[in-house]
Amino acid sequence: MNASKQSLAEVEALKRKVKREKSARHQAEQILEHKSTELYHTNQKLKQALAELDERAIAKEKQLVGELRANQDTTRTLLDSAQEGIFGANSNGRLFSFNRAAEEMFGYDSGDVIGAGVSILLASPYREQSDESLRSFLQSGDESFLQESRELIAQRADGSHFPIELWVVNTVSADGTIFFILIRDLSAQKAAEQEIFKKEVEVQQARDHLAHIARVATLGEIAAGIAHEVNQPLAAITTYAQSGHRLLDAKVREKDDIAYVLQQIERQASRASEVISRLRSSIKYGDATRERTSIDTIIADTLTLICVEADRKKVEVEYRPECDLEPIDADSVQIQQVLINLIINAIQALEAANVQQPRVVLRTEPRAHQQIYVSVTDNGPPISRETMDQLFTPFFSTKEHGLGIGLSLCRTLIAAHGGSLNINRNRREGNEFFFTLPTINAVVKASKKMESSNG
C-alpha cells in the first residue's frame, strides 16, 4: 500500500507540474506573441523612417546636383561671355574646357578639342615647346611661368596662324594642378602696328625725298661753283693735251716734256672725277648711310663745293679748324647739306643786306658729354626776334623765292644724328647758327647702355 500511495502522490505531483508548465508555456507564448507584434510594429516604423530618410537624401542630392549644375552654367556663361579665349588644361596638358571665344578664334568646337593636348592650338615652334615648358613648371614651380604674358603664334583648326598674347593661371584642385590659359588675338593689334610701321617708313621716305629735293635745289644755287670746279681741270687737260700735240710736232722731241704732259693730264682728270663723285654723292637719293668720318673732312668737302659761289658773291668764308676732334658717326651728305644750307643762307643774307666786307666764319669745338659743336657765323644784320621764333617753322622763308624747308629740314637731319640745331639768341652782332653732333664714342656708349638695359 505504501507503494500505491506513493505512486499516486507522484502522479498527482506530476499532474500539477504539467499543469504549471502548461500555463507557463502559454504565458510565454502570450509574451512572445506580444513581443513579435511589437517587433513588427517597430520594424514597420523603422522601414517607414528609412524610407523617409531616403526620400530626404534624394531630395538633398537633387538639390545639390541642381545647384552644381547652375554653378557650372554660370561659370560656363561667364567663360563664354569673355572676349578672351579661355581654356582649361590639366597637369598633362590635356584640355578640359574651351570657351566660345576660343572656339571662334581657333575654329574648333569645344567637343573636338576637349581631351586633346594644348599644343595643338599652337604653331611651330611653340607647339613643340609647350609640353616641355608645362612640365618644367610642374617640376620646378618657377613662378615666372605664370607671372608674365607672352606673345606666341597660334594655329587655327584650318592650319592658319595668328598672333596671340597668352597668360597662364594655375590652381590646385582635387585632381592636382590645373591650368587656365587666357588668350587674346593680336591680329588686329599687329595689323595696326604694321600699319603704323608702314606709315613711319612712308614718313621717313617722304623726309628723304624732301631732303633730296632740298639738296638738289641748294646745289642748283651753287651749280656755277660746281661747274667751275669741274671745268678748271678740264681746261687744264685740254691745254696740256694741245701742248702735247705741239711737242710731238716739234722737230726736237723732248721725251721728258711728253711724259710730264701725260702725268699732268692724268692728275687733272682724277681731280675732275673727284669733284664729280663728290657731287654725285651730294645729290644721291636714298637711305641715309652712316659711317665713321670727321667733321673736318665734311667741312673741307663742303667748302670746295661752296667756294666759287662765295667768291662770286665776294663773301669771305673762313674755317678755323680745331685739332683733335673726335670722329663722328654720320651721313656725310646730310651734314654737308646742313652746312651748305647754313652757309648759302648767310651768303644770301649778306648779299641782300649789302654788308661791307661780308664774312662767314665756320668753327668747330669739342664740348662736354662727347659732343662736337659746329657753328656758322656771319657779320650781317642781326635777325629780328620775331623772325628767330619762326626760323625753324616749315615753309617759313624770308627769301623772295625761298621754299622755307631749308632750316626745318636741317634741324630734322641733325636731330636724326642725335644732335640739335639752333640759332644763338644772345649775339649782339651778326648771326650764329650752331649745331651739335655726338662723337662716335658717345654713340657707342649709348648703344651699349641700351643693350645692357635690354639684356
Partner: protein, 203 residues
Amino acid sequence: MVDVNNATVYVVDDDEAILDSLQLLLKTAGLRACTYDGPEKFLSDYQPTRPGCLILDIQMPGMTGLELQEILADVGSILPIIFITGHADIPIAVQAMKDGAFEFLQKPFNDTVLLDYVTKALSLNERQQKEITATQSVIARIEKLSPREKQVFEKVAEGKSGKVIASELNLSPRTIEIYRSHVMLKMQATSAVELANLMNITR
C-alpha cells in the same frame, strides 16, 4: 712779225694747273710766259714799259680779273688783256670788253685760237708801244722849242701862211720865216704837212 724774244705773256689765274698748262703751251709756241697765281702778285712785279700781253682769269679769290683790269687802266697800262673764264657770264664779258679787253675766251680754250689772240695782242702792244715811243720823242722835241718857236710851230701846223702868222703875232714876215726854219730843224720835219702830223701825234 712780233718780236717774241722781247715780249712776255703774263698769265694770272688762281688755278695752278691752268697756269702750268698755259706756260707749257706758250713755251711750245716759242713764247716766254710769266705766271702769277693772283693779281696782287702780278701787280708787285708789273713794269709798264715791258712789252707783252696779259692772259687774265676773271673769277679769283680776293681781287678779280675785272678789278685788275681797272687798276691797270688807271695807271695807263697798254697791256692788252685776254680774259679767260670758266663760265660764260655774258654781262661780265660785255663789261670786260667795254672796259677795253682785247679778247674774251671761255675755258677750256682752243690752243690755236688762244695763240692767235696772243700773237695779235702782242703785235698790238708792240705797235702801241712804238706809237708811244714816237709820241714821246715828238713831245721831247716840242719841249726843246722856245716859247716863240712853239707859237710858230702850232700856227704852221694849223696850215696858216707866213703872212697870217706874222700879223697874228705882230712880227715881220721875215722874222716868222727865221722861226719857221728853226722849228723845222728842231722838229726834224721838212714840210708844213709833216709838222701837222707831228702835232696830231701829241693830241
